[in-house]
Each structure stands twice: as C-alpha cells, then as structure tokens.
C-alpha cells in the first residue's frame, strides 16, 4: 500500500466559507490535495461561531461544525481589501491548480480576484464559483442559506407526511450533499481535462440548479403533466414500508417489505398478532387497500421489540430493516461503523480530541487519510507566505504588524 495520497501535488486556493464550499474541498484535502483556506480576521468565517462547541463554550477555535468540514487543510489570513493582501492572494492563485469560492456573485471580481485575474496569473487554472441562483439571471442577487435552497429547489416542499405541510430533512441538506459534492465532481473532472489538453476551466455551480438534480425524477414527472407531492414514508413498490415504534423512548425500526413471500417471513418474525385472522393482508393489493389496518397491526407487533433485535431478526430472513439510529447509536452502538472505523478522532490544539467524519469510501490502493484536525485561524500564514509565495521573513513581519497577513 502506498503512503502517497492520490491527490498529492494538487493545490487548491480555497476562498470558500460557511457550509457548502468547505465540504467540497474536504474530500480533496483528505485525499492529499494541499488545500489552503484564505480567511480573514475582520470577517471571520461565520461557521467558526456556530455550535456545537467543545464543552459548550463559544470560541473561534471550538466549533465542531467548522472543524469537521475542514480537516487536512491549512489556513492563512489575508486582508483582501488591502492591495498587498490582494497581491498575495494572486500569487497564491499563480501556484494553485484550483480556485474555489462561494461568495455572492461579483464579490471576487470586486476584490480583483475573479476568473480573469486568476487566469492572468495561472492560464490553466480550474476556477469554481457556487452562487446561490447563478451569476446571471433576474434573481442572481437573491440571498439565502442551505434551507432557503432546499425550499427554492423543491426538496423541502416534497418531503412531508402525505397530505401535510412541508417538513424537509431536518438539516441543511443542500449544503451537505448535492452542492459540495457536485462541486468536487466538477473540479476533478476539469482537472482530468486539463491533464489531457492543458486547458483550464471556469465552472459555475448555481446551488439552486445543483439542488434540483436531487429531485430530478419529480421534474421529469411534472414536465409530463403529473402531479407530484409529499408521500411520507410510502413506497410505490414495497408494502409494508414504514417506520414503526419499538420498545423504549422514541425508538423506531424502519422496515421495507418487497413482495408476498417477504411479507410471510415478516409476519413470522413479528409474531404478537394472530396474522392468520387477516387473510386480506396476504397480497400486495390487499395490503394497499387495508393500509391503516396493516400499519396498526404492525405497530402492535413491534412495540415490545427492541429495534436493533427486530432489525437483526428481519435481516436474517432477508427483509430490509434497520433501527432508526441517532448520533449516539452511530458513534457508540453501531458495530458496522465501528468495524469500518468511520469516525476518526483527531487531536486539536484547543478542542483536544474531537470526532470527524472520514470519507465514506476507501480506495484500495491509494486510500485517503485525515491528515490533521481543522486549522487554527491563520495558523499557516507565515509558512505559506515565506515558503510558497516568496515573502521574506522581514517583509512578512512588517505585513503582519500592519494587519495585512497573520
């Protein structure tokens, strides 16, 4: 096995902040890219001030929300409004393969750091922006957050109990799934083209457009004239298909039964109810017609089961089932995640040992690795300026004293 990481030699000038951008550059960093975060002491990344904090105590170096999405990265602080700070940012672009930002449209241009400026420094740069609505169009200047995009992009409205109001995923889903990772895909694809043609690329990832792909089938259906709306936990094929209450406080088991022979096996595992008294439930059509009865009887049968044991018993008979796991189950209970070492604990100078997500995949020959915990604000300013950007120690000291770097 190689100790070299697969993206060794790729450098990313990462101007992104808050949610989606940093989760785009995390997989690159965890697979060996040198990701340099450009931060500011006067406009600190808001997510550094977002809970949870180590021991619940607020502080710029204590946020787990920030830390988890910034493993394996370096941090420098530059005052981009100062011409000398801007000059350093351009010099960093000149030695970077990729430039990423998620500011609102026009911000990087106003700073003199837009694509044309970057390309002048580095003709084959891969430059990605991720505006919410796009850099053009009548709504380009609209503002919002992850949940705004889930609303405007259709996922929020479609995710709810049948016939009820929108509910959504309970998270800023666009910031954690479609937008950062579509962005990572785009950057890696553009780097592949650059390898073959020597040509750089400008990529615009409008977060609205990216997020709509997560409900792509609904767009196809609506364009064909069909009504699409929330369906709760129902499934067009499986029945029963739902989340059923089990023994204990707020414990649940998700069960998906495909076909009549799986249903027969499910009944025999569930027990509790004298199922033979309900022949109308023997067929898929019958179960659909008697849906309220079906769900009520299953709930009677599951309420004395421990969710984990029920899921294991059903799985042993070939039925898809899982306890509904919360964070404590994921971190401390789940045997599979433990066997695969999904959670990684990294030592941080202020937070001490803290839990990070590893990548959800392993490359057998060139695996990634979380090389370091999240950087302290500006921790790498001097190293990057003096070793990479050719600033002398003496000049650095002066710039630091004047608040341009540090």
């Amino acid at each position: 096995m190689s100790t070299r990481l697969p993206l060794d030699g790729i450098r990313v000038a990462d101007f992104s902040w808050v949610g989606a951008g940093p989760f785009l550059t995390k997989p690159l960093a965890d697979h060996g890219a040198d990701v340099i975060k450009i931060e500011s002491r006067t406009r600190v990344d808001p997510i550094r001030s977002m809970a949870p904090f180590r021991d619940g105590v607020k502080g710029l170096e204590r946020s787990g929300y920030f830390a988890n999405r910034n493993s394996s990265k370096r941090s420098i602080c530059l005052d981009l409004k100062d011409i000398r700070g801007r000059e350093l940012a351009l010099r960093l672009m000149a030695v970077s393969d990729v430039v990423v930002n998620n500011f609102s449209p026009g911000t990087m241009d106003r700073l003199g750091l837009g694509y044309d400026a970057a390309r002048a420094m580095r003709p084959d740069v891969v430059y990605l922006e991720m505006p919410m609505m796009g850099t053009e169009g009548p709504q380009r200047d609209c503002r919002g957050y992850g949940l705004t995009i889930a609303a405007a992009g259709g996922l929020l409205g479609l995710t709810g109990y049948a016939g009820g109001p929108p509910v959504g995923t309970g998270t800023n889903y666009p910031d954690h799934v479609p937008n950062p990772l579509h962005g990572a895909v785009a950057v890696l694809a553009a780097l592949r083209k650059r390898r073959r043609t020597g040509q750089g690329e400008y990529i615009e990832l409008a977060q609205l457009e990216s997020t709509i792909n997560a409900i792509g089938p609904a767009i196809v259906a609506a364009a064909a004239g069909e009504d699409v709306g929330p369906v709760g936990n129902d499934d067009p094929v499986a029945i029963p298909h739902g989340v059923y209450r089990c023994a204990g406080a707020d414990r649940w088991c998700a069960i998906a039964v495909f076909g009549d022979s799986q249903w027969a096996a499910t009944r025999s595992v569930l027990g509790a109810v004298s199922w033979a008294d309900y022949p109308e439930l023997d067929t898929v059509d019958g179960r659909r017609r008697s849906r309220p009865l079906l769900d009520r009887l299953i709930s009677v049968a599951t309420r004395d089961w421990e969710a984990c044991r029920l899921a294991a018993a059903l799985a042993a008979r070939g039925i898809a089932a899982s306890p509904v796991q919360h964070a404590d189950d994921l971190l401390h209970g789940d045997k599979q995640l433990r066997a695969r070492q999904h959670w990684v604990t990294l030592e941080h100078p202020v937070m001490g040992p803290a839990v990070y997500d590893s990548s959800p995949y392993r490359l057998s020959a060139t695996p990634g690795r979380l090389r370091s915990s999240a950087p302290i604000l500006g921790a790498d300013s001097r190293d990057v300026c003096t070793e990479l950007l050719g600033v002398s120690d003496r000049t650095y000291d002066q710039l630091e004293e004047q608040g341009v770097v540090g």
Partner: protein, 365 residues
C-alpha cells in the same frame, strides 16, 4: 482555439448497478464518459428516465467472457450490491481486479464490502435509518420521515463519482486500477450536518424538530398559494429585522411595530413558544393575501432572506431558471424527456444530459 471536448471524453464506463448506484453513471455520462448500462428491467418510470439519460442500455450479459470483453474496454465499473451478491453475479471485486488490473471498480454497497453487516438486506428507507439522517427528519410527535425521492442514490452517487474521479486520476497517471469501497450507510452518516459533533462536544443527541429551527422569524409561513421559507434569525442577532418590520408595517400590519422592541434582538426570547406564535400571527396576517412569488420578490428587494417553497411545476416556470435555459429536453429511450440541466456549467466544455437512443442503438449527442 478552445478545445470544447467534454472533460471525461474517452472514458468508458460499465454500469451494472442497481437503482442505488445509477446516479453515479448518470453524472459520469453528463461529463462525457460513454456509459454502458446493463439493465433488464422492463419498466421505464420517470425516475428511470432521469437516472439513465445518456446511457447505452443493454441486456445483462451471460458468462464471464462477455463481461470480460466489456471490462476490457472500460476504465470504470459501477456496482451497488454487497459482497455476497457480487460474488453470486460473478462480480467479486478482488477477482475482477486480478483479471483487469487497470480497472477502477466503484463498488457502492449498502454497508460497505467489509464488516458484520456487509451482506444485510437494505433499501433506501432502511439506509436512511442506519446512517442517521432519518432520525433528524419529521415532527417530534410523529414517526421519523423519509426524504423524497430515494435520496440514498443521490448521496451515494455524488460521493461515488468524486471517488471514481480520484481513482481515475491515479489510473491515468500511475497506470494502476483499484477498488473504491463505498458504504452508503457511511455516506448517509456523512450527511447528518453537525449531529455527531453535538454529541461528541456537548453531549447533546440531536433529534427531529419538524420543519426547521424553532425561532421566531425563521421557518415556514403560509401564503395564498402555498408556503414560503423565511430566515429572520439563526441564533445571535436577527437578520434584516428592521427590514422585516418595515415590510409588515408598510403592508398594513400596523401592530408589527412591536418587532422593534429590544427583546426581539435576543435569541432567548425569539426561541420561546410565545415569540414564535406572535411572529407567526403577524407574518401570516401579512402573507395570507399574497403569493409565493410576490413575497419572494418584495422580500428579497428589501434584503430579506426569503424563498418560495417551490413545487416541481413552479420550477418548470421559474423565471430565473427559464432565463438561464436550465431545462433540457433530450430523447430518453426514444421519448422526448424534459430533464433538469447539469448541476454545473463549464465555460469551455460541453457538459450536460445526453440523449439515449432506443435500446440497442447506442448513444448520440
């Protein structure tokens, strides 16, 4: 002269995945890879059309000779079943790796290729439960709620495509293939926002909280033709608070001047049930005679973070998306089909959904 060839031009992909893996091949195809999709299922649902646009659909191959012939031309193989199923289908990753040492095998599977649950049966719903996203969704007094549209294939797909391209980079620069072992359970667990860190750092187990944060000024509000989502505060100082107050007052809700009181600046007050209820009365009194589009337009003009809760039909008529020519109509299996545009736009490369010719007819732009 700009070379507009697609970024993955010349990459051949063999997609023998289940529905769990089919978004991966779709993304690779949009970026210019030629994707052969092995698919025996007769149904052609809207979901199928979205997930398989641009792929060259072929029936399942019998025997390892035919498989080897296809793999001999492929740089990337996509599967999405556990290790026992893969072995039964003649797709064992280690064995294929021995026969095709340059191949990138993107082995998506419900729980990963190793570990005690590797061969557990799974579905979209049960993987959302196993990975922890289900526990965060739904009303507290009801059962946890599944996200619309089999999101596990999207979650798996975006991570798997990222991993595939990292492995392709190694394959093309170092001439070595490998196995990408992607656990969908882990990919879901990677999507639970800050819930793992809440437990680790503050010993708090996050649970489902309904439609959003319980804070006055933020959340879903009813209007004439549906719902809007407003962000007026997320802890700390409220956002555009004076603008919201002025908006309501100028809209005729004179009692909204009370939002100017000092207590509304305090997150502790805004998080009380009284504050939430009071704000809702004021805002919905204002919004009940207006449409999503009107509220979105006038709110954004005042610098307020507000968005319509869009339906798929709304999106098809959205002025921003139409102005940007977002939707694409391509032939999928011989039927003109309207699809969302690609998640990204490349200035110098042709990227986006491609047509699928009728089965057996190959792929064309």
């Amino acid at each position: 002269m700009t070379d507009r060839t697609a970024p993955l031009d010349g990459v051949n992909v063999l997609d023998v995945s289940t529905s769990l893996g089919e978004y991966t091949g779709r993304l690779l195809g949009d970026l210019g890879a030629d994707v052969i999709r092995i698919d025996d299922a007769g149904h052609r649902s809207h979901r199928w059309s979205f997930m398989n646009a641009g792929k060259d659909i072929r029936p399942w191959v019998s025997g390892s000779d035919q498989l080897d012939a296809l793999l001999a031309d492929a740089q990337i193989l996509i599967t999405s079943e556990g290790p026992a199923r893969l072995r039964a289908r003649g797709l064992d990753p280690a064995e294929l790796g021995r026969r095709h040492p340059l191949l990138v095998h993107v082995a998506i599977s419900p729980y990963g290729l190793t570990g005690p649950y590797a061969d557990r049966p799974a579905s979209d719903l049960t993987l959302m439960a196993a990975g922890g996203l289900l526990a965060l969704a739904g009303e507290p007094d009801r059962e946890p709620l599944r996200a619309w549209g089999e999101q596990t294939s999207v979650i798996a797909g975006v991570h798997a495509t990222t991993a595939a391209l990292i492995a392709l980079h190694v394959a093309e620069t170092e001439s070595r293939g490998q196995i990408v072992d992607l656990s969908v359970q882990e990919a879901v667990a990677h999507s639970i926002e800050n819930a793992a860190q809440y437990l680790d750092l503050e010993q708090v187990v996050r649970r489902r909280a309904g439609s959003g944060p319980r804070e006055a000024g933020t959340g879903l509000f009813r209007c004439v033709d549906g719902w809007i989502y407003l962000v007026g505060g997320l802890g700390g100082s409220p956002l555009a608070w004076n603008a919201i107050e002025d908006w309501l007052v100028e809209g005729g809700v004179l009692t909204a001047t009370e939002l100017g009181a000092e207590r509304w600046q305090q997150p502790d007050w805004r998080r009380t049930p009284e504050a939430c209820a009071r704000f809702r009365d004021l805002f919905e009194g204002f919004a009940r005679s207006q449409t999503k589009a009107e509220l979105f337009g006038s709110g954004q003009k005042r610098g307020i973070s507000i968005a319509p809760v869009a339906t798929p039909a709304d999106l098809l008529n959205d002025p921003q998306l139409l102005a940007r020519n977002y939707f694409q109509t391509v032939d999928v299996d011989g039927v003109p089909t309207t699809l969302p545009g690609a998640p990204y736009r490349f200035a110098s490369s042709d990227v986006g959904p491609r047509a699928t010719a009728p089965i057996g007819g190959g792929v064309r732009r």
